[in-house]
């Protein structure tokens, strides 16, 4: 198995599916049906391959594994370099698990341009997996930017209402951040003479340059996370995106920022990270409290969950920049957990949207009467979103806050208030949608989850509980990589003892 270019297979196999869909011929109904099935089977095969990655992954090693290196532009020292470690492994898995779920979730909801829609999702999968596997800045950047294109189209073509406004807002925000990152990548190239990420990770950048590089990366990643105050694209993008678009947006795209911080900012620019950690803490704490309060006032389901995402990602950024093993592992779990939980919450919204075609909370109420299965599923993910112990959300929040307390008690104190607020807005949402009496006739006519929908939610419930009850399966493989980063920071700290994380 090891002789196979497994990573490239996982990354580019979806494109084979794209090719198959492209050569589909025949009448409209047949191509539509075939496009769906091809997309589903392709994504399932990719998912199966990614499980092979997990099974073959050496959990005791901090090195990049499944490494593939090919000559690409030798004169410029740019190479095709792929590999994963304990950090990227789970993001790859998250991407490959969410894609088939998205395909199934769109099975009946999308009736227009199905072929193109499925193509967009498969291309998206290639880009997403590519981002997490890339070990060369140029490849990384290509995937990182490339991912915007299918997402832009998914929102702009298959979205609702003000989709064009939302698509452009999303595109501008994220692209502007990325342009600055490109400058940083160029600076790194001139500094190290190569675009190889592994080389750059072990390079000692001078402190002044670190500051600039850090800010440039920050501009890009902060938008992606999103951190307050550059979060306003998210609610709009979510509201207008189709359900599956929201799933990918919340599940994967928001993780790009956190991944970037943990992959590049922290190990490559340790001094600057220490310097700017208070900025991150401040913005994150503001994000947690501010957006939680804003979520409380929402009248639109998707906006509420979108704002809650910003608050949850605040825990991630705090955890990462604590530079403690607990905090960073907590941030990782929080990202994975949020990837599943918020994706599932958007799917929950999608279930009722498919039936009633409105996102307005006030239009719902009393759904527990005719949709008990739905009420259970929604309750479970509501609890996970609130961080109830036993669900994945708790492990992430708890670990990142316990890490934060070591560094700064104010951050932990204020950050933990987020757990009170999340209970307020999630239970308030749940009550308005699920509990009470049914007042509208069209609500009474709504049917409970069908088999397809149960098949979507069942694996997600399993993952949420698994991650909450036995998170060791996830914590263990990422531990060496995280320890490696922390050792790397500590080594750098010894060369520059004046700025250290611990002194704060």
């Amino acid at each position: 198995m090891s002789s196979w270019p497994l990573l490239s297979l996982v990354t580019f196999l979806p494109l084979l599916g794209v090719a198959l869909i492209l050569i589909l011929r025949g009448d409209e109904a047949a191509t539509t049906r075939n496009a769906r099935w091809i997309a589903l089977w392709t994504s399932l095969v990719v998912m199966a391959l990614s499980f092979v990655l997990w099974a073959d992954f050496d959990t005791n090693s901090a090195n990049f594994q499944f490494v593939e290196q090919g000559v690409w532009l030798p004169g410029l020292h740019i190479a095709y370099h792929m590999g994963i470690d304990g950090i990227s492994l789970f993001f790859v898995l998250l991407s490959t698990i969410l894609t088939p779920i998205c395909v199934v979730a769109s099975w009946t909801a999308i009736t227009r341009r199905v072929k193109e829609y499925m193509i967009a999702f498969l291309v998206l999968e290639t880009f997403m997996v590519g981002i997490f596997c890339a070990l060369d800045f140029i490849i990384f950047y290509m995937f990182f930017e490339g991912v915007l294109i299918p997402m832009f189209l998914i929102i702009g073509v298959w979205g609702h209402g003000r989709r064009v406004y939302a698509a452009f807002k999303f595109f501008l925000y994220t692209l502007l951040g990325s342009v600055v990152m490109l400058l940083a990548i160029l600076a790194i190239y001139f500094q190290t003479g190569t675009t190889d990420i592994v080389t750059a990770l072990n390079h000692n950048f001078p402190p002044a340059l670190q500051t600039w590089l850090w800010l440039a990366f920050f501009a890009s990643f902060a938008v992606k996370v999103p951190m307050w105050p550059v979060h306003t694209w998210l609610p709009d993008a979510h509201v207008e995106a189709p359900t599956a678009g929201s799933v990918i947006l919340a599940g994967i795209l928001l993780k790009l920022g956190g991944y970037g911080f943990i992959r590049f900012s922290l190990p490559m620019l340790p001094d600057a990270s220490a310097l700017f950690a208070p900025l991150i803490y401040t913005l994150s704490v503001v994000a947690i409290i501010y957006t939680s309060l804003v979520a409380l006032a929402q009248q639109d389901m998707k906006k509420l969950i979108a704002y809650s995402s910003v608050a949850h990602m605040g825990f991630v950024t705090i955890g990462i920049f604590t530079g403690t093993p607990e905090g960073m592992q907590g941030a990782m779990i929080q990202m994975l957990s949020h990837g599943i939980v918020s994706a599932a919450l958007f799917l929950c919204v999608g279930v009722v949207y498919d039936r009633l075609h409105t996102l307005e909370i006030a239009r719902y109420g009393g759904l527990v009467h005719n949709m008990p299965k739905y009420a259970f599923v929604f309750m479970l993910f509501t609890l996970a979103s609130m961080g109830l112990p036993g669900t994945s959300g708790f492990v992430g929040e708890f670990l990142s806050m316990i890490g934060a307390f070591k560094i700064n008690t104010w951050v932990a104190f204020l950050g933990t208030t987020g757990t009170i607020l999340s209970a307020c807005y999630m239970l308030y949402l749940y009550r308005r949608i699920i509990f009470g009496t049914i007042t509208h006739d069209d609500l009474r006519a709504m049917l409970d989850l069908n088999r397809r929908e149960v098949a979507i939610f069942a694996p997600m419930i399993a993952i949420v509980l698994w991650m909450g009850i036995y998170p060791s399966s996830f914590l263990h493989p990422m531990q060496p990589a995280i320890t490696h980063i922390i050792q790397h920071i500590e080594a750098a700290r010894q060369t520059a003892p004046d700025t250290s994380l611990a002194s704060r």
Binding site: F168, K169, L172, L176, V179, V180, L215, F218, A219, A222, P229, V230, T232, W233, P235, Y290, L293, V294, A295, L296, A297, Q298, P325, E326, Q329, G330, G366, L383, L388, P389, G390, F394, V395, F398, L399, M401, I402, G403, A404, F405, T409, W410, A412, F413, T416, T419, I420, A423, C424, L427, R431, F435, G436, T437, I469, Y470, P471, S472, L475, Q479
Partner: protein, 643 residues
């Protein structure tokens, strides 16, 4: 054995919850009750094992969290403290499961109800048997969840939904303190296992740490933070507001969760953490003052309420105050003793109240009852037993435990101990007063209900009465039975290492040396309370109305529960929504979007219009315009981000 006791309720909950429709109402009842029955037997066997043979142990289940130095396992800690709780919780829960069969008959969602009850029991058992802070927190939040689900069980009622959310959110506020406390423990000790933390507590005494920018005594702050969690769960003053509202839930829920088990979790926590609290005297004093204040506060509110369940709810709140100040004066054993006796007689009171409500076709207002004594005699008798136990009249259970607590408070010799003693004695008077007010209003005098309701008044079925007998037996003998082991001569041997009391703290040992007047005062106060109630509600029924009119401001103050809800609404709830809308519309809308993307797009749109006027066809002019645009973007971005 212990694993069976803990996980059987979970099994019952899962079966009843997911296969409720397959096995039907009866099936769900049989499955959950038999699971609980076996669990109760296991619980008693475990108790026997530990009480008699002292087989304390930590039963590991599997690893939970392993990150950095943090290692947390799912494990069951079995010692005297958890054994008492394990036996008590399984037995009371089993009894209430059986009672629910009768009480909930005719409800459309019986499997769901039984499933929630069993799930609650599981979380409660996880809580009491935890061997580390995080599993304690797991059970803690889990019982909170079940409380939320059960308070809001009748989800069609807006009041039940509101009460459920309130219960959860107020508990979360307490849990906020709890979790920050856990972070502090980890910061100080580098572990969250009870064993090493308790072992290291002595060495941590007097150490300081920086918390929120202040240099503070490490253990004191940690213990107070943890205690905030206990205040939320155990409805102590300030965070008690959810408990009376939680009475919207079905009565068996009130008996199990909001009287016998969940609300006592805070007391259990303080007792469990006695090795830490002992080295934090200021924290102990805080516990004493909060407990003493709550004991009196809740009792004063209790005498003015008209809803039968709310009276008992405030009574619970008040009794929890007793347990806390007992713990605060290092008489942890007495507080657990009272916890145990209270579980029996308060569950009994609630279930009898449920029986009354059942008989009255759902009526809960005592002003519309009266004269029920002849119609439902069995309920009347068991209610008397419960009240006698609650008021601390010998030889009923409450007498032994409550006396012990007040004596220990007096014996502690500290100012806060005396404070608690005085307030506790006065609260004992009020306890008797509101208990007999309840009895007289409900069962004596002329019936005030309408004809239709009175016609339907009937004694409850056997399946509800037998649980009442069991609990009555508990309320009768538990005090005399447990006295020797829990607080008497055998206490030292019984508790072993489960509870730590420093030699300089008197604790229960001091209670033996108090003067006679101290040990008789609570009893006298109780008897006076009964006499006053008799005078005011039987002899001269016009007295309460006249008193209320004469002291109207005080009466209104008590009737409206010291206006806590109104104040909280005014300070927290409404401003929160107001700020939320402000941040959303103004913060996100006007400021961020206005100066951010929307503003920029307006500006660039403007620029492009101008640029299009410049369409001259010359490439260098286009390039020039582009450069300017990019420069504006970049500089704006850099400037904005770096500030």
């Amino acid at each position: 054995m212990a694993i069976l006791a803990v996980f059987l309720p979970l099994l019952g909950a899962v079966v009843a919850g997911f296969f409720g429709r397959v096995i039907g109402d009866r099936g769900a009842q049989v499955v959950t009750c038999s699971c609980l029955g076996v669990a109760a037997i296991c619980g008693l066997l475990v108790f026997n094992d530990i009480a008699v043979w002292h087989h304390t142990a930590i039963v590991p289940v599997f690893t939970w969290i392993d990150a950095g130095q943090l290692k947390i396992a799912w494990a069951l800690k079995l010692d005297a403290l958890s054994a008492v709780m394990l036996a008590m919780v399984t037995v009371v829960s089993f009894v209430i499961h059986v009672y629910s069969i009768g009480y909930m008959a005719g409800d459309p969602s019986i499997p769901r109800f039984m499933s929630y009850l069993s799930l609650f029991t599981f979380f409660m058992l996880m809580l009491v048997t935890s061997s580390n802070f995080v599993q304690l927190f797991f059970g803690w939040e889990g019982v909170g969840l079940c409380s939320y689900l059960l308070v809001g069980f009748w989800y069609d009622r807006p009041r039940a939904n509101a009460a459920a959310i309130k219960a959860f959110v107020v508990n979360r506020i307490g849990d906020f303190g709890f979790s920050v406390g856990i972070f502090a423990v980890y910061y100080l000790f580098g572990t969250l296992d009870f064993g090493p933390v308790f072992g290291g507590a002595a060495g941590m005494a007097g150490k300081t740490m920086v918390f929120l920018g202040m240099h503070v005594d490490a253990l004191t702050v940690t213990c107070i933070l943890l205690f905030i969690g206990a205040m939320g769960k155990s409805a102590q003053i300030g965070l008690h507001v959810w408990l009376p509202d939680a009475m919207e839930g079905p009565t068996p829920v009130s008996a199990l969760i909001h009287a016998a088990t969940m609300v006592t979790a805070g007391v259990f926590m303080v007792a469990r953490l006695s090795p830490m609290f002992e080295y934090a005297p200021i924290a102990l004093n805080t516990v004493t003052v909060v407990g003493g204040t709550t004991a009196l506060f809740a009792a004063t509110v209790g005498i003015a309420q008209n809803d039968i369940k709310r009276v008992i709810a405030y009574s619970t709140c008040s009794q929890l105050g007793y347990m806390f100040f007992a713990a605060g004066v290092s008489a942890y054993q007495a507080s657990i003793f009272h916890l145990m006796t209270h579980a029996f007689f308060k569950a009994l009171l609630f279930l009898s109240a449920g029986s009354v409500i059942h008989a009255m076709s759902g009526e809960q207002d005592m002003r519309k009852m009266g004269g029920l004594g002849r119609l439902i005699p069995i309920t009347y008798v068991v209610m008397w037993i419960g009240s006698l136990a609650l008021a601390g009249i010998p030889p009923f259970a409450g007498y032994f435990s409550k006396d012990m607590i007040l004596e220990a408070a007096y014996a502690s010799g500290s100012e806060v101990g005396e404070y608690a003693f005085v307030l506790g004695c006065f609260a004992a008077f009020l306890t008797a007063l509101y208990s007999w007010r309840l009895l007289f209003l409900t069962f004596h005098g002329e019936p005030r209900a309408d004809h239709e309701t009175l016609h339907h008044v009937h004694e409850s079925p056997k399946v509800m009465l037998i649980p009442l007998y069991v609990l009555s037996a508990g309320a009768l003998v538990m005090g005399a039975l447990g006295y020797h082991w829990l607080v008497g001569a055998g206490a030292k041997e019984f508790w072993g290492n489960a509870i730590v009391v420093l030699p300089q703290h008197a604790g229960i040992a001091g209670a033996e040396r108090v003067p006679v007047w101290v040990s008789t005062l609570p009893l006298v106060a109780g008897l006076i309370g009964i006499a006053v109630a008799w005078y005011a509600y039987i002899r001269r029924p016009s007295v309460p109305g006249e008193t209320a009119r004469a002291f109207e401001p005080i009466y209104l103050f008590l009737l409206n529960k010291w206006y806590f809800d109104e104040i909280y609404n005014f300070i927290f709830v409404r401003p929160a929504f107001w700020v939320a809308r402000l941040l959303w519309r103004r913060g996100d809308g006007t400021v961020i979007d206005g100066f951010g993307p929307d503003g920029v797009s307006e500006v660039t749109g403007d620029l492009s219009v101008r640029a299009s006027r410049l369409q001259s066809g010359y490439v260098f002019q286009y390039a020039f315009a582009m450069v300017i645009g990019v420069a504006i973007f970049v500089s704006w971005f850099l400037f904005w981000r770096s500030t």
